[in-house]
Subunit: 199 residues, 2 copies
């Protein structure tokens, strides 16, 4: 149970896609819980079950995968108004493949799997909302996949800076490199070349 005041960003976010009645809203807030994390804390750990669907009120997180060689691959960042978690783990309540960690002090609204199922029954509009959200996320992910297949590292970096100028300033460069799928050294070289070319 969370107050409408605290949950305002979530309510505004939802309102951009579907209309919620007052009744719907109170059912939603009844199932939400609010939790704060410190910088560095894990919201999901590889191997654990992802217990929550998380809406970001404030802060910044990364979702990443650690491969056999111990190398970290950043799958996505999440900032204000984004949802995060390990969706595969959450849906099937199976061990997570990915980690979600806070890059800043972070404030989340959390929904458990069971509560969300109940909400879907009580408030079909919310099921509609999540259908729309996931569809949009899917479309964005395809676009990213295509970028990885058809663009050079340099072009991908330029695209990233245009698309997420806010994230670019909040996150260390070596993480952006990991997100783009290149080494930190190589991204550094790309940047120095771009700087030269622009001057």
């Amino acid at each position: 149970m969370v107050s409408p005041d605290i949950a305002r960003p979530l309510l505004e976010h939802i309102a951009r896609y579907v209309p919620l009645t007052g009744e719907d809203t109170s059912r939603l807030l009844a199932k939400a819980s609010h939790r704060k994390y410190l910088k560095g804390q894990y919201v999901v750990q590889q191997g654990d079950v992802c217990r929550f669907e998380n809406f970001v009120l404030s802060g910044c997180l990364k979702t990443f995968y650690v491969d056999e060689g111990g190398q970290e691959h950043i799958i996505m960042f999440a900032v204000e108004d984004w949802w995060t978690g390990d969706l595969g783990s959450f849906l099937n309540q199976t061990p997570a493949q990915y980690n979600v960690q806070c890059l800043e002090a972070t404030s989340l609204l959390q929904f458990t799997h069971d509560d969300l199922e109940v909400l879907y029954r009580e408030v079909p509009t919310l099921e509609r909302f999540f259908r729309i959200i996931v569809q949009r996320a899917y479309v964005a992910l395809v676009r990213r996949l295509v970028a990885n297949l058809s663009l050079s590292a340099r072009e991908r970096y330029m695209g990233f800076c245009e698309q997420y100028p806010n994230i670019e300033r909040r996150v260390p460069q070596y993480m952006i490199a990991s997100y783009l799928g290149v080494t930190k050294e190589f991204l550094s070289k790309i940047r120095s070349e771009l700087a030269k070319g622009e001057s």
Copy 2:
């Protein structure tokens, strides 16, 4: 309007995720239309609006993007029991970024955007179904993205063969190369090395 007989694969597919009443089923079939395509025909063309969500009854299709250099990048294949189209274009009814083309004679069930919206209102269970389907597609896509970020071309190819043995046999090798994000020449070399190693 399509007969339950023809739509049986779709009905069985849906039944794996949600229960549909007889009433629901007839509303669904009332909005479906059945269309056959020849090998080589386009279901969606880059620049056109994607008018349908397509369920594959039989056949095989590829979704691909043509970049500025004229190079083709295969985003996905679709075979029996898969959905295909350009989702971004379909949702917003905006020009498609991608092409969908038949690699074999193909039989589809099609739903227009407007009809699907009506269906969502009439049959909330179908909205639920599509939420689940898209979530699963999203999870699969993340897995593919991680594979592209963390595996070598060789490992990606081996993974592909395990995961889609059926597709591997139906599709020319140079398209698989494009799907994996490597050149056809390099995939050929990978294959010859694998053949050597196994003998």
